[in-house]
Amino acid sequence: MLGVLASVIDGVLVGFVYGLAAMGLTLIWGVMDVINLTHGAMIVAGMFALLLIVHALGVSAYVALVPVMIAGFGVGIALYWIAIHRMVGQAPLMSLLSTFAVNLVLVGLGTAALGTGLFNVDVHVPGISMGRYTFPGAHIVAAIMAAVIAYGLYLFLGRTRIGKAVRAVANNREAAELVGIPTTRVLAISVGLGVALAGVSGMLIGTLFPFTVLSGDAYTLKSFVVTVLGGFGNPLGALFAGVALGLLEGAVTPFVPVSWTLVIEFALFVVVLIVFPGGLFAPRRGAL
């Protein structure tokens, strides 16, 4: 019983990071109704940026946080101009295809350059013991960092001028344009933020688990599930839903083989979509 409890608590810790990853997806989705299928590739890029920084500079893993965030923002702006700008407002098919194509290019380059072997980053953080169980320090630090970044995003969207502009564009792009908000720039910034969040969450996941070039798919799927649970375009909902997914994963892991976890999560995804079409914590229109 205590084992299950420990597994659940650990799941919740990891869930914060899932929530952070999904926030990146849901932000772009909410603002411009585009699903960023490069999400997985960006998460993996974050993981390999971590690997590069730790191995090349020999510094602590958490130093990578700021550079990954800045680089992610830049990559996101580039992604917007390459693949998304022409697709905003078109049929969903087109933006799905264009981001899917970029994802293929990135995954293809990654596989060609790095192969599909397993990589690992060692993080030495003392864990916290509770009886016979020890919670890895890396999990605790990652959860705290994810929560802090999520709170930072919440403040950014709520308090700053750019954040308010992002919310205005999400709410009604034409009206935002009419009151003088440079919507194109705001859309680009939103994609930048979304990708930065994906990169940072990838970096944090890289401190928790080993990874390969192809890990992205599994985390993309998790992000979809979290987004659906949390309500589309609702970053705070995504964080809670991420924690909920982590909790579920923690509760299920002791009983079923790992390879089934994704199937269970996916089944949950379809059921939630059919029963609650707007997501479990569906926001009011434009509640971003």
Binding site: L97, A101, L104, V270
Partner: protein, 325 residues
């Protein structure tokens, strides 16, 4: 009835010509190399034509079309090796099973619209793959093998390759006629209406969830049979090759390259892509970058030529729409 009506249109005979060329070309001089390259072309045409029913007509992107192909292969090989059924019986059973499964899935996930359907199809690949990897009767991640003896039922190893080739061409012809027949039927018009504006289609009386599920189920049958043939030919199936991510993305590239929603364009796209791929794979520098090139090609098409090759041809020669549909 529909078939008779179609036979009066020139495009009906264009398809017949394509099939005839495929069937006769390798026979001239017993050209085995040509046969092996044409069988791959035919496979691309089958998968792309059937994906086109969803992607081109209905405007619903199915990232998991490869699931039909892989499951068909698994069911067929399992029937042949596990239960000892002949190939002629196993193929239709595999097709029917996969189609039925697609109908059940479809009725569930096709209530989802637009984005959500696309996401659900990504989940289906993961789900089916995890299932197959854990399913003991299908050999788990090790896969299924056929013993050499099963080839006797279609005339020994040398003959078998020809039999499989002609079966594959037959399935290709059926795929082309199927997508043409669907496009010309009332059902197809309903699908095209869904593709243009789903709400308007529903208001005008198109039973959208049912039509979408039927389209999904229709587009599953022939790829499943092609999967059965393909893996019967290689006598071996494993999860990684059955649910090959590269193939499933290539098929999307093929549909977009040829022109989504056109029958001829998709076949043309399949031929062109397959030639390009054959060239790239034999060039050492490029063989590692196959995914990169497919992706870059897809991005260019989506950004600059959303109509694909046929879209370009139609805009240059509008009258050709009457002959090549």
């Amino acid at each position: 009835m529909l078939l008779l009506r179609l036979a009066r249109r020139p495009f009906f005979w264009v398809i017949a010509l394509i099939v005839a060329v495929f069937a006769i070309a390798p026979l001239i001089g017993d050209n085995v190399d040509l046969r092996e390259s044409l069988v791959l072309d035919a496979l691309y045409i089958i998968l792309a034509s059937n994906l086109n029913i969803m992607l081109g007509y209905t405007g619903y992107i199915n990232f998991g079309s490869i699931v039909f192909f892989g499951l068909g292969g698994y069911i067929c090989l399992w029937l042949v090796s596990g239960l000892g059924l002949p190939l002629a019986v196993s193929l239709p059973i595999a097709g029917t099973c996969v189609s039925g499964l697609a109908l059940v899935f479809g009725l569930g996930i096709l209530r989802l619209r637009g984005h959500f359907f696309a996401l659900a199809t990504i989940g289906i690949i993961e789900g089916v793959q995890a299932f197959v990897q854990n399913f003991k009767p299908w050999g788990g991640s090790a896969g299924l093998y056929l013993s050499g003896g099963v080839l006797k039922q279609i005339g020994g190893p040398a003959n078998a390759l020809w039999v499989i080739y002609f079966l594959m061409i037959a399935v290709m012809g059926l795929s082309l006629y199927l997508s043409y027949a669907v496009k010309s039927s009332k059902f197809g018009l309903g699908l095209l209406a869904i593709g243009q504006n789903e709400d308007a289609a529903a208001v005008l009386g198109v039973p959208t969830p049912l039509y979408k599920a039927l389209a999904y189920c229709t587009s599953a049958f022939l790829p499943a049979i092609a999967g059965g043939l393909f893996f019967f030919k290689s006598a071996f199936i494993e999860p990684a090759s059955a649910f090959d991510l590269t193939l499933s993305t290539e098929v999307i590239v093929v549909v977009m390259l040829g022109g989504q929603g056109t029958v001829f364009g998709v076949a043309l796209g399949a031929l062109l892509y397959s030639e390009l791929r054959g060239y790239l794979l034999t060039t050492a520098t490029f063989s590692n970058f196959q995914l990169v090139i497919s992706g870059a090609l897809l991005l260019l098409i989506v950004l600059f030529f959303p109509g694909g090759l046929m879209g370009w041809i139609y805009s240059r020669f509008p009258r050709i729409q009457k002959v090549l549909e």
